[in-house]
Structure formats: C-alpha cells, structure tokens
Amino acid sequence: MTNTQEFAPLSIAVALPAYRRALVERMLQRLLQENGEMSADWYVSHAAEADVTLRLPPDEGADPSASLLAELRRPDGGRETLTIEWPWRPGALLAALQRIARLLRSGAAGSADARDALAWQWLRRWSELALEARGRLLELRMGGQVVALMDARLGYWYAANQVLPDAAQFVTALARDSYSIELGQATPPPLLRPVSIKPLLWQLGVRSGHYGALPALRQRGGLRLKGWPYLAAGGPKAYAELIQKLRGGFNTAASLRDSGLAAAGLVDGFLNACLVCDFFHGETAEPAASAPAPVPVPAGVFAGAQMRPGNEQAVIASIRRSLHAGTP
C-alpha cells in the first residue's frame, strides 16, 4: 500500500518489538491528535507495506534512548533509510515525520542529497557576497527574473509575495530553475515589507552540513557564540552540547568536528547555520581568554533616569570587566 497521490495521507507502520511498539504507536497517535495539520498527512497502518516503516537499527542493544530507523518508500518506488535520533522525545519524532513528509512529497524534484548540495552552494555565494555587500542588497534571480532582494547585514528578505519560502520548497525551486545572486541596489524597495530571512538561512545551513563547513567558516579563527541560537532549540540533542562547547573555550570548526560530539555532517550543518544567521562573534584570536574583549568606557556617563542603548552597551561592558576582575 504505497501512496502515489501527492496529497493523500502517508501510511506509517511500526515494526518494533511489542514493548516498544505500544509506546511508539501511542506517541504517534498523540502527535497526530495534537497537531491537527499533521493528522491530514499521516495515518498509522498495520499493513506490511507502508510508506514509512519504523524499525530498530540492526545493532540495537538494550539502550532505551537508541535511535530508530525509518524506511521510506518513495513514490517513484525508490527506497531510502533515515535515522530518527531521540525518537522518545515527541518533538524529535514530530520533526522527523515532518522531514519525511517533505522528502516523500517532493521526491520528484531529485534526490535529497543533490538538493542539500544546492543549499551549500547557495549559502557559499550568500556568505561571500555578504562580506562584500557594504550596505548594498543582494539580488536573487531565478529563471532570469529577480525574485527577491536580500539584506545580508540585517538579515531581511524582500519579495513581491512577502512570504519567506520554506527551505524544502526553496531548494526544489533552485534545482528546477537556474539561479544567481549578485550585488544590487542599496536602498530597500519602498513598497515591500522586510521579512526575516534567518529561518530560511538556518534550515539551509543545517541541510548543507553534509557538504562540509562553508569556506567563510574555515577561514575563521576561533568560534564564539553570540546571543542564543533560538533556531537550534528543539534540534538534535547534540546542538545543546555544541552550544555549550561554543560558549566556553577556544573552538574551531575542525576541533568541533574532532570532538566526537556528533557526526561531522551535523556539526558542520549547525556551524554553517550559526554562521549565516550571524550567531558568531567577530574574529576570536587563539589565546583569547574567556573574558570578552573590554570596551573602553568613559566614567560616569550614565546621567538621566533612562539608560540609552549606547550607554547600556558601555554599562554591560563595565559589569563584565568588574565581574571578571572579581574572580577569585
């Protein structure tokens, strides 16, 4: 029973030992109930031949946190296997199902791998031009037409329909139509509302990981995280460990790949995503201590009841220095 219609619900079968099967089936039922839009996409099937079959990996021992294998039957008859990490977290299972649905539904546009390569190439061009832009916008052309203007510094996307595409749709479109990115005008189009491009960049970054770190990342010295990569929340568990590592000590793309925290593709995907979404501080030199670089601050500049943003930066810099100076 394989679905070939584009929008018919996909069947999912659970081929696990009884004690696991009950749990996974219950999780699936609940996910489908709680996520109305998902229930249109999926139904749990007991048929031997489903669109997706969940199995234990062959070397599975007694580890309760082990991953699951999802065997996919593509509409064209091809087979693919995906690993679902941490399937016992409902969020992770949900994310995996969404990913699988996208894969199966857009299967006609070429294999997932080829499209991830496109994501990588696109981001490389983006990150190169971002360095040269100096206030100018980037012009994205597809099929010869300018489809969007992008502000690499502020992370904005201006397009006629004012909607940011989903990464899967986007790479599918990139694969279908040829594209180019060039430097364009400096002023944003007056009638278009800017939309944050970061969600798209993040997804592309994550997908690009199998093709390695972006050149802009390799050229960097140390990597230190800036802000909180919200976009990483809910990703693989290794993201949390990577974030923790990137907050302390000196790290490079290579050292993180070697750290064994996660597969190289996942590490590079995470780093690429952080890079293009501007989650890294500027260059960090090798011997840099954990204390952030001091910013000179004139004494006693905080007059007035309301703190101004500029002053606030100086205040924060001063608190940082004072806290670190006070380290016993």
Partner: protein, 203 residues
C-alpha cells in the same frame, strides 16, 4: 546618576540570596523574617521585601543587585523591583513540587521584559532532580509564544552566576542589535520569524 540594577527573581528557596552573595561586594542587606509557611519551604527565614547587594563597577558606578521575595503572594514586589532593571534572572528550583508551574508564574510576571530580551531562566538542583528536563521548560516557554534561554545552574558556584549574567548580557545585546536593525529598516513586524521559532521550539 541613573540606577544600574539587576533583579534575581524566583520561588522561595531557589537561591536568590545566595546568587546575590556570590557577586556582591557587601554583605547583602536582607529583609528576612521568620518563615511561618512550612508547606512552601522548610527554611527558617524568608525574604519578604527584598535582598540587596552591590558591586562597584570600574566606571565608578554601582551595580545594584536586588532579590525579590519568592512566594506568589509577594508578586506585587516583582514589577516594583524590576522597574528600570537591566535584566532579570529567574532562578527556579527543580526540587520543588511543581517547578513548571513556578515558571509560568514568572513568565507571566515578566512578560514585557521577556519580549525585550531581558530575562533568562536558570534551573537549579537538576543533578538531584532531573525531571522536568530543560526541554520541558523550553516547551512551556514556547507554548506561551515566548522565547528565552533556559540553562541549568548551581548558584553556589560563582562561575555559574557570572555565566548566567553573561547569557543575559548577550541576550540583551543581540536583541538590541536586532531591534536597532528593525528600526533602521522600518520593519513592521516579524511574524514569520516568531512562528518559525515557535515551530523550532516545538521540536
């Protein structure tokens, strides 16, 4: 001279006074009285108005550190103390009966500051009480359509306290730069962005 202050909030017994002591250069001034509510905590004394500590900055200014009383009946003090604060650290205690309900109380109380990127949540006693996990906290935050960092911390360690302030500052800076950029570009709103974050958080 304007006031530079940080607020440590959180339920009774989460370590607000301890966190202030970790970085204050004076012995914290407290308004502790006898605790008569042993259903809330078995501590002998509890803060009812505020804790107060100070740190002299190299600019000559004083950083004022406030701790708010934890019990929900004192929630009238929370906005008073948060007024004009650079940011708020919400300390939670995973060994309490319902830490996620505590989280809800503080998320409601500080929702304005959360939107401004001025709140971080630090969860204590995760080693001895691993449930709920940080994922559960993040899920609660995202269900409210809010987002803020949630980390594990042990306030008895000064490094942890400094670490959570560092996280708060990074958060303030990155929000400020995003806001400035939005003003510069005349952005009307970022709904897609918020929705995406919510979806990402839901995973």
């Amino acid at each position: 001279m304007s006031e530079i202050k940080l607020l440590f909030a959180g339920p009774m017994g989460a370590g607000k006074t301890t966190a202030i002591r970790a970085i204050s250069e004076i012995e914290p001034i407290s308004t502790e009285v006898e605790n008569t509510d042993f259903s809330e905590s078995d501590k002998a004394e509890t803060t009812v108005a505020m804790d107060y500590g100070e740190l002299t900055l190299d600019s000559g200014d004083k950083l004022r550190l406030y701790g708010s009383p934890g019990q929900k009946r004192f929630e009238f003090m929370w906005p008073l103390l948060a007024q004009g604060a650079l940011g708020v650290v919400v300390l939670l205690d995973n060994s309490r009966p319902e830490p996620l309900a505590d989280l809800e109380d503080f998320l409601s109380a500080f929702s304005g500051l959360i939107e401004a990127g001025r709140v971080v949540v630090a969860v204590g006693r995760l080693e001895t009480h691993p449930q709920p996990g940080l994922d559960d906290y993040l899920a609660s935050v995202s269900r409210r359509g809010q987002f803020l960092p949630v980390i594990g911390a042990d306030v008895r360690r000064r490094d942890d306290v400094v670490g959570m302030l560092e996280l708060l500052f990074e958060q303030i800076e990155s929000t400020a730069s995003t806001a400035a950029a939005a003003v510069a570009a005349g952005a009307a709103g970022d709904d897609e962005w918020l929705q995406f974050v919510q979806r990402a958080r839901a995973q």
